[in-house]
Subunit: 342 residues, 2 copies
């Protein structure tokens, strides 16, 4: 049995719990995975622990009614996140707290505590992966457990595992892609003749963009994700200040029309590559020819092109956000761990 | 150590041997895989077996000079393909003989012999996978070995493992894609104003199309591949006569222009889906809107869209033919077996 402790109970955490509730029988039958969530800790939602495994149907109902995990009628309450990681007998930690790409905290401490205690970590949290991938991977190796980050970029759309496992055996020269859905939505709409300000407002109303859109439109979100890709896939140790960054706020309708007249589209492209043995990365709006698969990536879709010696360019296109997609990315990582267990 | 016997020594077999020669040190260092090709059997090129492992540098040189495997100065010669499978102590068989989608032979017998003797099979051969996937998978399970077929569709571009492993945990509703490069090349060129007959001739000169183009342009190649996808990913047992099939010979420049005027492209789409619990499949030219990632797949590129409950649609785009790409698909399967070993 795989005993899971879930750290973080926002949109992704709740979607993950729902996914396990709905797919528990299938996971056992199809993959031989007996998955039990034994503990959950939320930042403002309390915590709950039952060594026998939580009844997720009941838990999601009582949480839905009260907004706190501690309304669950059984089990132990009041553990901190760190206690939930180290003292619940869980052998796999799903870390889905809110991303902080400046300090990585509190996720960084969570991941370190888990790995140091010999527990696998599966996470969608960009902070630790962007800031400390190499260190965390080494810590995982040292303790013979896995640190898996499929959901940190492109949510559940395969990216990390795609490049490192599906394409195992290839030499990777670099990756480039459209890894921020908000800006791609804005650029797609601007191509249809809408103005930047109007589209941004619309995106905010639809929930695609934050009230403060800086992280997306200035490229900071893409920077964090390309750091993860460069570090995890190319072996880099990128620092945020080393990533060239240009957002989309400078793009005018005229730029877009000029590109269109040449059979091109403007996309916010994030790229990581190896130059003279050093991993480099940049994020900037670029003209992409219509014959490039990235040109066909519209709206909030994300995409990643992997450049290899065996296949030249291979591209994955899919959704890049959302609780259900991210939850499935977490689940695919859990199943990958399950497959590699002896 | 993984002892490999290679059955078939045409374009793919030679590219595979070259890939192992070039990547042997990397495979050991990066993945801990000690891969040795201990035997090779070709239909018209003789056979060679050395229990200590073949010196691939030497083998490829002597083969290049003489056209026969038996000019290798050491080892045992004259084994048949079946003897090479069963009597060389290989624990993994790479089957890359020429595809026959009517009988599956001789590959079908090769695969059965290997699995029955407790040897993993990694193959690019479409015949056995299209005709007998379920039976071969059951045979593999029974003998606690793996039957891996990543390279049978989209050559080395992840498709089978993408859908079954990267997207593990998802419910798959169906797959659709552009899985024949020749017809996609012809349709792409026709969009640029060229005539079917002219493009076909050009494709034949470039080596993209066979002298007898029927298998490609009438959709038979796509039928075999969609049968594999439907059977391996959706659990079907499709027979060739159950697959609706329409080729591209009926497509006129007018059809293509009419589509273009509506923001659409005509693509030969292969699709497998589940209807009332039954797996069905069809191959036919369809209008694809430019907002669909499949519309952006140009020239000889292939693509596959997987429809799932967790992510809606996820698409992979990449090369679909060629020795080096296919060899890397075979290698990725070997590494997947290596990862799942206890």
């Amino acid at each position: 049995m795989t005993k899971i402790a879930l750290i973080g109970f926002g949109v992704v955490g709740q979607a993950f719990a729902e996914t396990i509730r709905d797919k528990k029988a299938m996971l056992k039958e199809k993959y031989g995975l007996k998955a039990e969530i034994v503990a959950i800790a939320g930042r403002s939602k309390g915590s709950i622990y039952d060594p026998e495994g939580l009844d997720l149907e009941l838990l999601l109902r009582t949480f839905g009614e009260t907004g706190t995990l501690e309304s669950y009628p059984r089990g132990k309450k009041g553990l901190t996140s760190l206690e939930t990681i180290t003292e619940t007998g869980a052998d796999l930690i799903v870390e889905v707290t809110i991303t902080n790409v400046e300090t990585g905290e509190p996720a960084l401490s969570h991941v370190k505590a888990a790995l140091s205690n010999g527990k696998h970590v599966v996470t969608s949290n960009k902070g630790p992966a962007a800031l400390a991938y190499k260190e965390l991977k080494a810590l995982a190796d040292q303790h013979h457990v896995q640190y898996r980050i499929e959901s940190t970029v492109l949510s559940g759309t395969p990216a990390i595992n795609f490049a490192s496992e599906n394409l195992a055996g290839h030499k990777l020269y670099g990756v480039k892609g459209i890894i921020n859905g908000t800006t791609n939505y804005i650029l797609t709409k601007m191509e249809q003749g809408e103005k930047y300000e109007d589209v941004l407002k619309e995106a905010q109303e639809l929930g695609y963009a934050e009230a403060d859109p800086t992280a997306d439109v200035e490229g900071w979100d893409a920077v964090a994700k390309i750091m993860i890709l460069g570090n995890a896939l190319l072996g880099g140790e990128l620092k945020v200040e080393e990533v060239e960054r240009k957002g989309i706020t400078c793009i005018t309708p005229e730029d877009i029309m000029a590109a269109k007249s040449k059979g091109e589209r403007i996309k916010l492209i994030a790229e990581a590559y190896v130059e003279e043995g050093i991993v480099k990365a940049k994020v900037s709006p670029e003209r992409v020819h219509l014959s490039d698969p990235l040109a066909g990536v519209s709206g909030t879709l994300n995409a990643l092109t992997v450049m290899t010696d065996g296949l030249l360019e291979v591209t994955v296109i899919g959704g890049g956000a959302g609780g259900v997609g991210t939850a499935h990315g977490l689940l695919s990582d859990i199943l990958a761990i399950h497959r590699t267990k002896s």
